[in-house]
Assembly symmetry: C2
Homo-oligomer: 334 residues x 2
């Protein structure tokens, strides 16, 4: 017979199961603690992810990217407001590639937080992008899963659109918003191939400024040039003035349209499967590299190296034994 542990006791001990229960019940401190465990690559992650798995899969993941200065933070804040107006809970993960040790990230948090700080339906968190050069933090998919399981209807992942991060965000999100601003025409030309690949919705922010119409028409032209391919989503181009929340509601509509379009064609499921496959592969490679590192410290690799030097074993057979050793270890530990 199992005696249930009283709730107060469970809460104090803060086991993974308690944290997950509390996060699912809407406790923002539990959400924060879980994401910190993700960031720290805690050994408890495995247990946490097992507990989260059956609870995740409902949130819509929205990527938001663009060059510095297009108004990403302001747009994120306005979008959060628009989602809240529809009574949807919103999580925000702001990936900050410029500040791997979170000084800038925390400042950004504070500025952005102000408007929504007292709203229990909003959770905003910065993730440092350490680990990947210019890419998203490897913690991002798992931080997403925490917010997803904690019942947020939408999770916005905001990142500066430079290099690898731009590609990563598209492979992570259900819908990717690419933000532009007037007077960045050269940028559009340069980024043409890249942003057309990844954008599900284009947003021309600062639409009250000179040149907004030019940027808008240039984007429309680019999209037309690629032609209307049957069965392919045509990214809409929206105009916003995020600082006054103008046009932001239309973004939420466009996101919903895109979701409906994807769901009707099996695209949503395909994107999520690809995202899960990426995540699995990333975890597997990280695990294999860690095991390889362990072997460096252990005796197996050194003794095999000795045999290769002596000529009693060839390096391929030695590599086979290393792989077998890695997996053997894993079977015992895991």
């Amino acid at each position: 017979m199992v005696f249930p542990v009283p709730a107060p006791l469970r809460a104090r001990s803060s086991s993974p199961a308690d944290l997950v229960d509390a996060a699912v019940a809407g406790d923002p401190r539990a959400v924060a603690r879980l994401i910190s465990l993700v960031e720290d690559a805690s050994p408890q992650l495995r247990e946490i992810m097992t507990l989260l798995a059956p609870r995740a899969g409902r949130a819509q993941v929205i990527g938001l990217t663009g060059s510095p200065g297009v108004g990403k933070s302001t747009s994120t804040s306005a979008l959060v407001g628009a989602f809240r107006a529809r009574d949807l809970r919103v999580g925000v993960l702001a990936i900050d590639p410029s500040s791997p040790f979170s000084g800038g990230a925390l400042l950004g948090d504070r500025v952005r937080m102000q408007q929504h700080a007292t709203d229990p339906g909003v959770y905003i968190r910065s993730l440092a992008s350490r680990g990947h050069l210019g890419g998203l933090s490897w913690a991002t998919p798992q931080a997403l899963r925490v917010l997803d399981a904690a019942g947020f209807d939408a999770v916005l992942v905001e990142t500066v659109g430079v290099g690898q991060a731009e590609v990563d965000i598209a492979s992570l999100a259900d819908t990717t918003l690419v933000l532009l601003a007037p007077g960045m025409g050269d940028g559009i030309q340069a980024a043409k191939a890249g942003i057309l690949e990844i954008a599900d919705v284009f947003v021309v922010n600062k639409a009250d400024r000179d040149g907004a119409e030019h940027t808008y028409r240039e984007l429309k032209h680019m999209i037309a040039l690629t032609g209307t391919v049957d069965g392919r989503w045509q990214p809409p181009v929206l105009k916003t003035v995020a600082s006054r929340a103008e046009g932001v509601d239309e973004i939420v509509d466009a996101i919903a349209d895109h979701r409906t379009w994807m769901a009707g064609r099996g695209v949503l499921d395909a994107r999520r499967r690809r995202r899960a496959a990426d995540e699995i592969e990333q975890i597997a490679l990280t695990e294999l590299r860690a095991r390889m590192g362990d072997l460096r410290d252990a005796t197996l690799l050194d003794s095999l190296a000795g045999e290769v030097v002596a000529g009693t074993v060839d390096p391929y057979t030695a590599a086979d034994r290393v792989i077998a050793g890695m997996t053997g270890e894993g079977a015992i530990i895991g």
Copy 2:
């Protein structure tokens, strides 16, 4: 009862065993064919390396690196002459990072070959450095093993001393020569930390030019600054005019001194073990990445991704299954 296949038949079929036998017997075409199989990452490599293993381990591996313009090719050619004068067989692997598709490499070959083209005691081969950004080709350790097993007493590995290649060559060679030339004082300052780490012997080439004495003294000063650490090899600084073969015999003496010093302290064996460990690790990682790629094409990863999306499996457990799948496959194939 086993019927031995007659020799002529074996030779014509060019099986790995025949090629290895022919290479060990001194056939340069067999050596060339084996290195090509290494470069092409042939599926026969595993069998070839098994056959080569007991035959390798005798050659002394000499790394030769330096900035463009210091006279690496001329020095290599002069060194080959000095080794031949002592009746030693010499293999040369010229790593050409600038020409991944061997156009330049072939030209370089021809120029260098001329002097030693008719000498059966010399084998010169260019390897493109494809695969590693700025580093040595991953084929290099295995090409080394071919030349080693084929009975070459010394193998010179020549590479441009830029970035990763410089570090790679030091981890590959028993003795690393760093070449400098007068008038590159700034280069010495910049590279200071790096070249002091890797050089076992310094060579100031073009010693008949202005500034050679300055470069020589600067090097001596640098070495003195690091202090005489007990039990550590003090790299000698030699002066050469490689184009006239002046001072080159002294390099061969210095290499021999270094070898004697290493052998007496167990350093030679330690270096070779570390080299073998690097090679095993490289093969294992390449193999694991290939298996991961196979999984992408197969159904396992996709079906696991589906389960993660459905929430029936967490990504860590999925990664475990991927790793198990990789090794299970490997056990059957390998």
